[in-house]
């Protein structure tokens, strides 16, 4: 296919609409399955019922979504900042890596769900414990990928930096960080979806608000359509958040972008 054919409005539309088509197909099959099989809504409500549920109180759902979104983004932001900082510190000082990295891995091996109740004890029942759990779950991906990225500098570029007699700081901010960016963004995408998981786990443990609370309380009343409504929102939210990180990646790595455009 030629460049112009690939970028014609029709082709772009086809490409962009394809994922949507997949989702629509999935929903249709689900609806048909429920109707033909006469599945009881309390077990598996058809999508139409789920949409009814959403349509009945959109504002209330929006409010719960906003709360969960806030927790997720806060946890993600803290994980991104502290994760990158930790990765930089332990790659720049080898002895710190030896000192702290095994401990970090050990702490990460503890199931975060098991720590969640502790967070309630430490931070109370407000937003903080949920942010802490989202952070704990998300931070590992950021740290691992950033370390990988900081170490991915090609050896000839490190040689170049040495022959230019650049300071360590210059090497870090002009070379290593840029080499790390593609890896970092891969880590951030994983961290974003994990932060969402963390936020829900936090809300499961103790909450009066948020989508996690909606799921838990609706489940208690066997209000399955409402559970599915919350899950649907979560699925859409996950996709949107990952896309957001992808967009950020394109903005932050214009040289990758321009290369993609220039390649034949």
């Amino acid at each position: 296919m030629t460049e112009s054919a690939r970028n014609s409005p029709g082709a772009v539309l086809r490409r962009k609409s394809l994922p949507l088509l997949g989702a629509i197909g999935f929903v249709l099959i689900w609806e048909l399955f429920c109707r033909i099989g006469h599945v009881r809504p309390v077990l598996l409500p058809p999508p139409s019922l789920v949409f009814d549920e959403l349509a009945q109180s959109p504002l209330w759902f929006a409010e719960q979504t906003a709360y969960t979104l806030g927790i997720t983004l806060a946890g993600f932001a803290v994980a991104a900042v502290l994760g990158v900082a930790f990765a930089i510190v332990i790659t720049e000082w080898k002895w710190l890596h030896r000192l702290l990295f095994p401990l970090f891995v050990a702490l990460n091996s503890v199931p975060k769900v098991a720590i969640a109740p502790l967070c309630i004890i430490w931070f109370g029942t407000g937003a903080e414990p949920k942010i802490a759990i989202a952070f704990l779950i998300a931070v590992f991906a950021v740290v691992i990928d950033t370390i990988l990225g900081l170490r991915s500098v090609p050896s000839d570029i490190l040689d170049l930096a040495r022959t230019l007699r650049g300071s360590r700081w210059k090497v870090l901010i002009r070379i290593k960080l840029f080499c790390a960016l593609p890896h970092l963004f891969a880590g951030l995408k994983v961290a974003m979806s994990l932060a969402l998981v963390g936020a829900i786990v936090g809300e499961f443990v103790s909450s009066q608000r948020g989508l996690g609370f909606v799921i838990l309380s609706a489940q208690g009343m066997f209000d399955t359509p409402r559970v599915f409504a919350a899950i649907t929102i979560l699925a859409v939210l996950g996709v949107v958040l990952i896309e957001l990180v992808s967009l950020l990646e394109q903005l932050a790595l214009p040289w990758h972008h321009s290369a993609a455009r220039a390649s034949h």
Binding site: D159, T163, R165, G166, I175
Partner: protein
Amino acid sequence: MIVAKDVGKHFGAAAEGVTAIANISIDVEQGEFVSLLGPSGCGKSTFLRCLAGLEQTTSGTLTIDGKRVDGPPERLGMAFQRDALLDWMNVLENVLLPADFNGARKRDFEPRARELLKMAGLTAFTHAYPRTLSGGMRQRVAMCRSLLLEPRLLLMDEPFGALDALTRDQLNVDLYRLWQQQRMTVVFVTHSISEAIFLSSRIVVFSPRPGKVIEDIRVELPADRRLAVRETEPFGRYARHVRGLFESMGLLHD
């Protein structure tokens, strides 16, 4: 300028490991263009890296301007086989990198950078990213970068090894012109016999590992060299002679 006396480099533990070079003794005068010529893996690059202060010698003495090399020397320009351009900086920023790393203000060196790019015929690509350039253009940018701070010593590690023959010829001509104008000292690693003869005022031929100096050849060809010099009789004599050395080392079979 460069004085190497019995320089050796051994990787790994004393008994095991690999001896890359042994007993290399070369003097290089200011303003010479010296090619280190030898088969792959003969240690010529290792010697160059010792000169650049990227590797520590394990025996002998290596001095530049009377000072023992224990790290990258001042006013050093280096070109690598892969151009080592930074993908996230545009061409101009890449060329300005040495100034930035040197703690100088980039703005002060911008006119010089633009002049170098103009000489290399890259003015139109000043703000392009390296990934959009061809291999030859990238290597030109790398050369501009190594020349920004007017190095006294230019070390080149098979800089044209990955280029196609035509581009390689053109860059040979360009490099020769540049050296004629600026007369910096150049140490150039290559395994191409004709490239070495065309560019150099001296060729140092290395044996296979552990690398030793087999012969030190002074090249007396017209100062105004064009590619056609490669078809002349004196050039052919040098080429035959070097090829003869490789044959006697068992590296070439006719």
